[in-house]
Symmetry: C2
Subunit: 301 residues, 2 copies
C-alpha cells in the first residue's frame, strides 16, 4: 500500500552547536516522504517556487517518491531559518518566509485519489481539509499540527480532528490544544475532540500513544551525537506510516511496532544535517537498529 | 537479604498546585525505606531531633523497618519547605534548616555491619564514606547525590564514586557532574569516574541505565494525577534495591526488572502527599501495576 503526504517542501537554513547549513532541502513533507520511502511507495503533495533546484527533486525520485503532486509556482520556495541552543532540545526561529506556500491550494493528481494511508503534515488546517476532500478511499488518516495553528486556526483544526484517526503532536502542543498540564489528561481531552488515537512525541524522551482503552509508552533511541534535530518528528511519522502501509497491520501491536520503526527512523535523521541521513539508509540498517531497540527496552530476558 | 539505607529523616512542608501539607515525614532515607519495605527487610541510618514525633517512628516499625540506626540528637529535625509550580516538574526550595543533620556522624549498630545491599542516600559524601567504612560485607552499593554536593564536595564525591557499583542521579545532575550536555556522553563520562553502572532518573520521562556494554531505556508509568512528586526518586531507589535484595538477581535482566519495580513504586508515591501512599500499599498491588507496566510497554504481542 502506498502512503500519501501533504505538507511543506522547503529550504531550511540551520545552525546547531556543531555546525550550520544553508538552504538545504527541508519541510515536513520532505522528511516524511524520505523516511517513509524505505517501507512503502510514497506520494507527495506540496508546493515549491521557481528557485527550487532539480537536484532536490531528484532526491525524491531516487528514493521512489512520486512527485507528481508537487506544484511549482511563480515565486520563491518556503524558507525557514532556525538556530538550536547548546541544549539541543531548544531552538529559535530566526526567519520564516512563506513565499509560495501562502495561498497554496493543494490539488491532488487523479492517480493520488485512491490513497489509503494519508498523512496530513504540519500545514494550515484549511489545506489539510482540502486534501481530505479530494481523497476517495481512506484507511488511516494521521494529522500533525503545531502551536501556530492551534492558536490561529482552532476552529478549522477542530473540523479536521473530527475526520482523522490519529493526531500526532508534541507535549507542549498537546497542553496548548487541551488546556491540561498533565499529559494523560491532555491526551484524554484530545480524544474527546474526535481522533481515535493521540500520539504524543516527546523528543529524546520517547513517545506516548493513547486510545480510549490503551496506553503505550516507549523511550527514544539514546544517541551519543545529535547533529541536527530538524525533521525528527516528521521522519518519525514517515517511518510510522510507512511501516503501517508495509504491514497493513493496524492492530494495537501493529501500531506499537510502527511507533518503534518511526523512532528508529527519527534516530537516524538527527545523526546528520537536514535530510542527509535519510538519503543513504537501507531497510536492513533500519531493521538492525529496530533489533537494537528491542534489546534496549527488553526487561523480560 | 536486607537493605541498608543512610540518608535524611526529615520534616517536609510541601505546597503543590493541588494542596499543601506541614511538617510531614520526609527525607531520602524515609522514602527509600518505606518503598523498599514491601520487598525486603530494611535497616535505616539517620538522625532526628527531639521534636521528632513517635508516630513517625511507628510508621517505620509498622512497615518492619529496623530503626536502631536512627539517632536522636539534641536540637530540631532537618526541615525542608518546598513549593511546586503549575508545571509539577519544577519546584523551589523555600526553606532549608539542616538542624541536627549538620555535623551528623553516622554510627552503624553492630547488627547492621553485615549489610549486603547498601543505598547511600542523598547526603554529604563524607557521611556516605563513613557508612561505607563501617560495613564489612557489601554485595551492591548504590549511591545518590545532588547538585549541591557535586558543586561543593566534588573531591569527596569522587572518592565515594570509586567505591560504589552504581550511581543514581537525574539528568541535570549528570550533566553537571560530567560536563556533557548529551546524556549518553554524560553517562559514559561518569562511568569513567568509577561506578560500573549509572542510572539516570528523568522523572515523568523514565529511566536510562548504562554500563560499559549495555544501555537500558524505559518510560515512566503515565499518571493522570500527580499530587506531590516529593520522594519519587528515593522511593524509586527503594523499590529498585528492595527488589534486588528480594530476588538476589544482579544479572542485567534482574537489574532491569528491578528498575521497573522502582518505577512502579515511584508511580504510587506521587499519587498522594508525602509518604502517605507508601504506608498503605501491598506487594500484590505493586505486582499488579508491574504487570500493567509490562502491557504498557509491550510491542511484541
Amino acid at each position: 500500500m502506498s502512503v500519501l503526504v501533504v505538507g511543506t517542501v522547503a529550504f531550511d537554513s540551520i545552525e546547531t552547536p556543531v555546525g550550520s547549513v544553508e538552504r538545504v532541502l527541508g519541510g515536513s513533507a520532505s522528511y516524511f516522504a524520505l523516511g517513509a520511502s524505505y517501507f512503502a511507495p510514497v506520494r507527495i503533495v506540496g508546493v515549491i517556487g521557481q528557485d527550487f533546484p532539480q537536484d532536490y527533486l531528484d532526491l525524491f525520485t531516487q528514493r521512489g517518491v512520486d512527485i507528481q503532486g508537487i506544484k511549482q509556482e511563480r515565486g520563491d520556495t518556503f524558507h525557514w531559518r532556525g538556530r538550536y541552543h547548546e541544549d539541543i532540545n531548544l531552538r529559535d526561529t530566526i526567519e520564516l518566509h512563506l513565499n509560495v506556500l501562502a495561498g497554496f491550494e493543494p490539488q491532488l493528481p487523479d492517480s493520488y485519489r485512491d490513497a489509503e494511508y494519508v498523512f496530513l503534515g504540519n500545514i494550515d488546517p484549511v489545506m489539510q481539509m482540502e486534501v481530505l476532500n479530494q481523497i476517495r478511499r481512506m484507511k488511516l488518516v494521521v494529522c500533525d499540527t503545531m502551536d501556530h495553528w492551534i492558536r490561529e486556526s482552532g476552529a478549522e483544526l477542530r473540523k479536521v480532528l473530527q475526520r482523522i484517526e490519529m493526531l500526532v503532536l508534541n507535549d507542549s502542543e498537546a497542553r496548548l490544544l487541551s488546556g491540561y498540564n498533565n499529559i494523560v489528561q491532555a491526551a484524554r481531552a484530545i480524544l474527546r475532540m474526535g481522533p481515535k488515537m493521540v500520539l504524543i512525541k516527546r523528543g529524546e524522551y520517547g513517545v506516548l500513544q493513547f486510545s480510549d482503552s490503551t496506553v503505550f509508552a516507549t523511550p527514544a533511541y539514546p544517541l551519543e551525537e545529535v547533529f541536527d534535530p530538524t525533521g525528527a518528528g516528521d521522519s518519525f511519522a514517515g517511518g510510522f506510516m510507512g511501516q503501517l502501509a508495509r504491514s497493513g497491520d493496524l492492530s494495537q501491536g501493529g501500531l506499537r511496532r510502527a511507533i518503534v520503526y518511526g523512532s528508529v527512523v527519527a534516530s537516524f535523521t538527527v545523526e546528520d544535517f537536514g535530510v542527509k541521513r535519510l538519503t543513504d539508509l537501507s531497510l536492513p540498517r533500519i531493521e538492525e537498529r529496530y533489533q537494537r531497540f528491542v534489546q534496549l527496552t527488553d526487561f523480560h530476558s
